[in-house]
């Protein structure tokens, strides 16, 4: 399928802007801000046709795929998304009914086909949020289209592709990257049919534990093997990141002081932890330097998935970059901290969903579950060949550093929006 950039006359540009307005409203992003069509690529000419549109709207770069139908023809929207009808549009082919093509039962397969380069017949919408509209194609491909674009590469995709090329295979392999003029518009990955969210898998274990009221090591749904595998995956991620992006070094004392400052600023109540203060006190006077890599940045259970081949990183955001989009190098133990934090978070969340009357006695079960899986995760992480090279040379610094970073993570999460 050929594709070409379009030059629009004023009338078409205006017509297209109306469609973009409708699309913004549909996504809950409507407003009175300025709107500017940046570029339009024709993915498929004629009727049905496809236009890929990038527009500057309300200070962000919006991205939509407009589908064009012959007026009077049947329009079938996926999942009953009737608001996917955007309006009317006219071009050299005449009048057309314009739709959000990603939600059109006939056009969504054409979009996937245009990007993948091979025919795709059956498509469904697997997810749709601010980050991406995800289409599953024929139970074999997963196509993520970004509704909001970044200038330059998408950090999550950049990390996904770089780590894949670096031999890290705990991921859904990228099949095709949709990139134009330096912007990542979407990505096609293999679909891991049997995958389930890491949060859900951990919840399965906790459900069993809370139901059985036994020690976690004798519960049928013991999570320790999974936690250990997660640790191995995290270590391999960091080894892959080093291969892909290189290594830097930082001062352990700086990290400790940074953690202390963050905790004091964001969640002072957490700072009352004796273990945390001891950890900071042990690290702050040290002059040791330790390796830094481009970490995931927010590696927690909810960003992982359990698939047939084991654990995978399912969500690559924030993609190892800071708020400005610049690569961020940190101790790999930062990601360890985020994962360990999520163990506690999921145990608490699962507990809080149970009836108040049934909770007494389960708090200790939750603590035991967290402690057991923390040990298992660290065992898997620290036993991974090569990972020692990325940790402080003085091994006694590892545990307090994890303690400090984990609390820094917790402080940041306490400050941020609730949820997973």
């Amino acid at each position: 399928m050929s594709a070409s950039m379009l030059d629009l006359d004023a009338a078409r540009r205006q017509s297209l802007e109306a469609l973009i307005e409708a699309w913004l409203t549909r996504r809950g992003a409507g407003g009175d801000g300025p709107l500017e069509v940046v570029e339009v690529e024709m993915l498929a000419p004629g009727r049905p046709g496809l236009l890929d549109v990038v527009a500057r709207a309300q200070g962000r770069m919006a991205h939509l795929v407009v589908g064009l139908h012959e007026p009077g023809g049947e329009v079938r929207m996926l999942g009953g998304a009737e608001d996917g009808l955007l309006g009317a549009y006219t071009d050299e082919g005449g009048a057309a009914v314009a739709v959000d093509a990603l939600f059109d039962a006939d056009l969504a397969p054409l979009v996937v086909t245009a990007i993948v380069g091979e025919p795709v017949a059956v498509v469904s919408v697997a997810a749709d949020d601010e980050r991406a509209t995800v289409l599953d194609a024929e139970d074999r491909l997963s196509f993520s289209v970004f509704p909001w674009l970044t200038e330059g590469p998408h950090p999550g995709i950049d990390m996904l592709v770089s780590l894949d090329e670096a031999g890290f295979n705990h991921l859904a392999a990228p099949v095709a990257l949709w990139r134009r003029r330096g912007r990542d518009l979407g990505v096609v990955q293999e679909l891991l049919t049997e995958a389930a969210d890491g949060w859900a898998v951990a919840r399965t274990s906790l459900r069993d534990l809370y139901g059985a009221r036994v020690a976690p090591e004798v519960a049928g749904g013991d999570f320790a093997d999974e936690a250990r595998s997660l640790g191995t995956m995290a270590a391999r991620l960091h080894l892959g990141a080093e291969r892909a992006f290189g290594r830097r070094s930082g001062a352990v004392a700086d990290w400790a002081r940074g953690a202390e400052a963050a905790v004091d600023r964001l969640a002072p109540s957490l700072g009352r932890s004796v273990a945390f203060r001891r950890a900071v006190a042990a690290l702050a006077p040290r002059e040791d330097r330790a390796p830094m890599v481009r970490t995931h940045g927010d590696l927690h259970l909810g960003r992982t998935a359990r698939a047939n081949q084991g654990w995978v990183v399912a969500d690559w955001l924030p993609g190892g970059v800071d708020a400005d989009g610049d690569p961020r190098y940190r101790s790999p133990l930062w990601d360890v901290g985020t994962m360990l934090w999520s163990f506690g978070h999921v145990a608490t969340a699962a507990l809080e969903e149970r009836d108040q009357a049934l909770r007494p006695g389960l708090e200790s079960s939750a603590e035991a579950w967290v402690a057991r899986n923390r040990r298992a995760f660290l065992a898997g992480y620290l036993a991974t060949p090569g990972i020692a090279e990325l940790l402080p040379a003085e091994r006694e610094l590892v545990e307090p550093l994890i303690e400090a970073l984990e609390l820094e993570v917790a402080a940041g999460k306490a400050e941020g929006p609730p949820g997973r």
């Binding site: 059956v122 498509v123 599953d136 049997e194 995958a195 859900a200 399965t204 069993d208 139901g211 081949q309």
Partner: protein, 611 residues
């Protein structure tokens, strides 16, 4: 979306599948099944008397454990005469009559045949050990020292310390992969291969429909290897198959090869070795999955299971006459399964667990139903171990694997209705505890109770027969975000389920009406019409798709299923024929009770009549 996406009826002739690809097998321990002469040991006439029951239950084939003369030091797997029936079990005449009658009922028989070794009481071994220059001196594997082939593992490592045992008479060591009283035959000697083929042809002439090849991987040894799955072994099996196909077409070979699926698949060859192989690694993972309440133990092993050559099939099972073997799991997984299913040390046997299905599951019927639903719907031909259709118990205080080989419980009468012999005469004591004893668990009581597990399983077998795609269809995983839910679609072109199944002996199967006197009389036997090994089925052909959804958790679960590929089709629940809402392109949500499962036939709602 409203476009039906059901596969269109095929315009191509449907492939008529061989019987074993959609058969349900039933494993019978002869001495434990039914004692007709009241000597305390089950026998052939006893089994013959119970054919009504097997026919009523709806099994397609019986796998008969060894019935040959034997010192019985290993449950009959130590054969001392390959050409006869143990006197305790009856005569060759009894066996012939049993097979004839079974065939007239459409029930096939597969014999367990030990080809790897014999008893040390077998005349071949007696002769071979007698000197170093007798005619059978090389029929077994002899060596001057016990250091050869150190890589070969010791299968019964809890009992045997070496695969070599010293023989005082011959002043040499002999090789045995199992017990020391079971010397391995030497297949390097062409005379041994010839003798085995002769044995096979003998029993084919008697009327068996095939063989389960016991300990198939161990036939040959080679320096520097573990002595398992060697190319020479495959060559011999190919030859055996070729000879069998030539003289008795349509008969089957079932390999007992306990190994990783990729290794075991070699026993299918390119379709010119065994017709069936047991899928050993799947079995422990079924138990693991329901304790972990996660599908991954199952889906992982299925994802590593290779495609089958045409005409081949897996045999899948929950339990059998051996321990629940844990050879094909990691050390951590074995520890886990021991901790979950063998809390008492006495429950452990060799490298496994010596318990029956029901006690393994703490008697949880819902869980038993779930596990049966899995083996009835996963790719493969299910094998049911005798008594497990009742959820019989075990006796872990009996030695070796006798814990799961206790007498079949037919009624609450003396000895569980198994035998009228004195209790002390019985080959093993029946289970007598309050939960699983014959007073509580027996065929007679369950057959009178339509809500019993026995009736439930029988209905499931009827249902499975109506859905041949469960035997031969493709398996397509269905994505579900809930890790406790295992869902898949079995689909393909099938012949319409026949109400009668025609085997080599003509169209004979018709379920025996049940009611009144248990199991009634068999229908009159039709004339014997040998045709082929394939079920002809009367019927037309059609595409069939069955969605199977299972909740592996003891808690109720939601299942959001990605079924866009089947958008437009209407799921009809198979047991009640209840139509469910039409599938669309959005996730299809259903709720499953604890350990619940639902099977749906995916139908075209435009059809006036739901199949």
């Amino acid at each position: 979306m409203s476009t039906p996406r059901l596969p269109l009826p095929s315009r191509h002739p449907v492939v008529v599948r061989p019987w074993y690809q959609h058969a349900v097998f039933y494993e019978v321990l002869l001495r434990g099944f039914y004692d007709a002469n009241n000597d305390g040991i089950g026998d052939i006439r006893g089994l013959h008397e119970k054919l009504d029951y097997l026919q009523w239950l709806g099994v397609d084939a019986v796998w008969l454990l060894p019935f040959y003369p034997s010192p019985m030091r290993d449950g009959g797997y130590d054969i001392s005469d390959f050409f006869n029936v143990a006197a305790d079990y009856g005569t060759l005449g009894d066996l012939t009559r049993l097979l004839d009658d079974a065939h007239h009922r459409g029930i096939r028989f597969v014999a367990d045949l030990v080809v790897n070794h014999t008893s040390d009481a077998h005349p071949w071994f007696v002769e071979s050990r007698s000197s170093r220059d007798n005619p059978k001196r090389d029929w077994y594997v002899w060596n001057d020292d016990d250091q050869r082939w150190p890589e070969a593992r010791i299968v019964f490592s809890d009992v045997e310390r070496s695969n070599w045992t010293w023989d005082d008479t011959r002043q040499q060591y002999y090789w045995h992969r199992f017990y020391s009283h079971q010397p391995d035959l030497n297949y390097e000697n062409p005379e041994v291969a010839e003798a085995t083929i002769e044995v096979v042809k003998f029993w084919l002439e008697i009327g068996f429909d095939g063989f389960r090849l016991d300990a198939a991987p161990y036939l040959f040894q080679r320096d520097g290897t573990a002595g398992e799955h060697l190319p020479e072994t495959h060559e011999f099996i190919k030859r055996l198959r070729k000879e069998m196909d030539a003289s008795h077409p349509g008969r089957v070979l079932l390999a007992e090869a306990n190994g990783w699926p990729a290794d075991v698949a070699d026993y299918f060859g390119d379709g010119e070795e065994c017709h069936l192989c047991f899928h050993f690694p799947l079995m422990p993972r079924l138990y693991m999955a329901v304790r972990k309440e996660q599908r991954y133990p199952i889906t992982e092993i299925l994802s590593q299971t290779p495609e089958l050559p045409e005409g081949c099939q897996w045999a899948i099972f929950l339990r059998n006459h051996d321990e629940l073997t844990l050879e094909q799991v990691s050390d951590e997984e074995r520890d886990y399964l021991f901790s979950e299913y063998a809390k008492d040390e006495r429950m452990k046997r060799h490298m496994g667990i010596g318990r029956r299905l029901a006690p393994l599951l703490d008697g949880d019927r819902r869980l038993a139903e779930l596990l049966y639903a899995l083996i009835l719907s996963l790719p493969g031909s299910p094998v049911i171990y005798y008594g497990d259709e009742l959820l019989m118990g075990d006796n872990i205080y009996l030695g070796d694997r006798d814990s799961v080989r206790t007498p079949m419980q037919w009624s609450p009468d003396r000895n569980g209705g198994f035998s009228k012999a004195d209790f002390a005469q019985l080959y093993l004591p029946p289970v007598m505890d309050a939960v699983y004893g014959a007073d509580a668990v027996n065929v007679e009581a369950q057959s009178r109770n339509p809500g019993s597990f026995l009736h439930w399983l029988r209905r499931m077998l009827v249902q499975r027969r109506a859905m041949p795609v469960l035997g031969v269809g493709r398996m397509e995983p269905v994505s579900c975000p809930n890790p406790s839910v295992l869902a898949y679609v079995r689909s393909g072109d099938v012949a319409d389920a026949p109400s009668t199944i025609a085997g080599p002996w003509g169209p004979t199967r018709s379920p025996t009406p049940f009611g009144g006197p248990a199991f009634g009389h068999a229908p009159p036997a039709p004339s014997v019409v040998p045709v082929s090994g394939a079920d002809q089925g009367t019927a037309g052909r059609r595409s069939q798709a069955v969605l199977c959804v299972h909740n592996l958790s003891r808690f109720a679960q939601p299942a959001e299923l990605s079924l866009a590929r089947w958008a437009g089709s209407m799921p009809v629940e198979v047991l009640g024929r209840v139509p469910f809402p039409v599938i669309s392109d959005v996730p299809y949500t259903i709720a499953l009770g604890p350990y619940g499962f639902l099977w749906f036939e995916l139908t075209d709602p435009a059809e006036e009549t739901i199949r």
